[in-house]
């Protein structure tokens, strides 16, 4: 089984979100970038298939040279090789187009990805990629098992879960449950040393048409201060929730 894991390079959750150039760009100043946490669940599941079922694991990211440390981290966790498509990601369709091209050309039969990236939260890429390729697609995936080419997959539904069956090739949009948080791996020194020698291939993008573009960003309005209510006066809290917030 040849597994491709899509890695999005996103700001760490603790980052301050600011915009620059007249609010048209995300300000990366002082921002620490990490592997998208939902992609990390996918990568960890891929490592299980590598160790238990002998699969090969390739990680891929769409981005400029600044995304390479994130790919190296994925290699340190245990992926065999990495691919970077050398273009600035601007839109879900653009990214899906680039990924689909690589998946098709290199014959990957299982593509694992987080269901969304935690920067733009678009939730577009895995599904679009699957539809471009004509592969099966399952979103919000919380468990994945494969025997031969037969896949058993659970997905989250509102208020529960659904178990599905299908064949490879398959693309999933994954989330927590695919593996548990405690199973996520922190690269060790040996992994980091080995990652330096693993292949990181750079591919030029295929041409694409951009249909959606960002005009500007805006920060949410500053929130008012928290109103503190005395614990001996909870009637006041009820009145505020009823009359002011109008939520009860």
């Amino acid at each position: 089984m040849k597994i491709l894991v899509c890695i999005s390079h996103v700001p760490d959750t603790t980052s301050k979100i600011n915009f620059s150039e007249d609010n048209t760009k995300f300000d990366t100043n002082g921002v620490q970038f990490v592997i998208n946490p939902l992609d990390e669940f996918a990568l960890t599941r891929a490592m299980w298939f590598k160790e238990k079922q002998g699969a090969s694991v390739t990680v891929i990211s769409i981005g400029l040279a600044n995304t390479e440390p994130t790919l190296r981290k994925a290699l340190a966790i245990g992926a065999d090789e990495a691919i970077r498509v050398n273009v600035e990601p601007t839109d879900g369709y653009q990214v899906a187009t680039q990924l689909a091209e690589v998946a098709k050309n290199e014959g990957f039969d299982l593509v694992l990805s987080g269901k969304e990236s935690l920067d733009y939260n678009g939730g577009m890429v895995p599904g679009m990629m699957a539809e471009i390729l004509g592969y099966n697609f399952i979103n919000a995936c919380i468990s994945l098992d494969i025997e031969g080419s037969s896949c058993t997959v659970s997905r989250e539904i509102d208020g529960g879960k659904e178990v599905l069956n299908c064949d490879l090739p398959l693309i999933i949009g994954g989330q927590k449950g695919l593996v548990e948080e405690k199973d996520l791996r922190i690269p060790n020194m040996r992994g980091i040393m080995m990652a330096r020698k693993k292949p990181l291939k750079i591919i030029e993008p295929v041409s694409f048409e951009l249909t959606t573009s960002t005009l500007k960003y805006e920060k949410p309005k500053a929130k008012g201060a928290c109103k503190i209510i005395d614990q001996n006066n909870l009637d006041e809290l009820i009145q505020l929730l009823h009359n002011e917030a109008k939520v009860i």
Partner: protein, 321 residues
């Protein structure tokens, strides 16, 4: 041209998310000087849709579609959009909506904007406001494609009642085997409980509650308010509560009208998942807990004293309504 809305139903009932996008679709149609067409699949009673402005309803009846199937449903929506000459298509942000939307976008050759939080800023060029960065920012996107697919963020527009007489028509899409490659083998659903996704109010407990045996008051508070129960990540990691209740960045997102956090300090990963809730209340004995910076109302005090008292007062209040 028209605006097409896909209103998903759950055992014949249109949930708030479905009615909200009908409301939204109606307003977009008015803005564009056109009408809204609502597509339904295997719903017997579509009258609720007429209360929120559905000018026309296309009703599909097909037993192959009894269970949700993203590819087949996307195919139905695409065929309806062609018949109705729809250049704007709206879906919801439930797990089903978010599953079928990217498939549909490719089929329609449409630009796709998810996390939409408001009516279009402009129609020419088409500009739309979206949530990004876990609600720490907004993105205004311009869509130049001829067709546009929008998924509306939950609880971002609200229900706008607008009774109309709907023109209800049957619609029969052509489906083939390729639509049914993925087979549903089992569905496990907790019945009778308010789900976090659908709830207007969510009551959430953290490690400050000291142990799973103390959740009785959380459940009682939720019951009084008609709320769903949730928990922080450490609580689900410790196995005090099921994983399905974990809200936060890697758990479930919450965009309820009211979120009540009890004994939760407010780690940034937790806040990222609950940011888009409209009103937040925190009850915590540590006045320095970061959640007080994110909340609208706060009570500094011991949860074991405050919560039972709050329940008592709420019951009194409810009895006066």
């Amino acid at each position: 041209m028209s605006v097409l809305v896909f209103a998903d139903n759950s055992e014949g009932i249109f949930k708030k998310t479905a009615l909200e996008i009908v409301s939204y679709g109606k307003r977009v149609a008015e803005q564009a000087g056109s009408t809204v067409v609502v597509l339904t699949i295997n719903a017997d009673d579509t009258s609720a849709l007429s209360d929120y402005g559905a000018d026309k309803i296309l009703a599909i009846k097909d037993s192959r579609l009894d269970k949700f199937n993203a590819k087949a449903y996307a195919d139905c929506i695409q065929q309806a959009s062609i018949q109705e000459n729809a250049d704007i298509v709206v879906v919801d942000s439930t797990n089903n909506g978010l599953y079928l939307a990217p498939i549909l976008a490719i089929n329609l050759k449409a630009g796709y904007a998810s996390n939409v939080v408001d009516l279009p800023d402009a129609l020419e060029p088409f500009t739309i406001k979206r949530n990004a960065f876990s609600s720490k920012g907004f993105n205004y996107s311009q869509m130049d494609s001829e067709k546009k697919l929008l998924s509306l963020a939950r609880n971002s527009f609200g229900l706008k009642e607008q009774k109309v007489v709907s023109d209800v028509q049957e619609f029969t899409p052509e489906l083939d085997n390729a639509d049914f490659q993925i087979k549903s083998v089992a569905i496990e659903q907790t019945s009778g409980k308010v789900t976090i996704a659908d709830a207007d109010i969510v009551v959430s407990g953290g490690r400050g509650l000291k142990g799973p045996e103390n959740w009785g008051m959380i459940e009682e508070l939720a019951e009084v308010l008609g709320a769903a129960t949730a928990c922080s990540k450490p609580v689900s990691d410790l196995g005090w509560r099921p994983h399905g209740e974990h809200v936060g960045q890697t758990g479930k997102p919450v965009s309820s009208n009211l979120y009540i956090a009890i004994g939760i300090s407010g780690a940034i990963q937790h806040l990222a998942g609950v940011n888009s809730s409209k009103t937040k209340v925190v009850i915590n004995n540590d006045s320095e807990a970061p959640f007080f910076k994110a909340a609208d109302y706060g009570v500094v005090g011991d949860a074991f004293e405050v919560v039972p008292e709050f329940i008592k007062k709420l019951k009194e209040f409810k009895s006066t309504l």
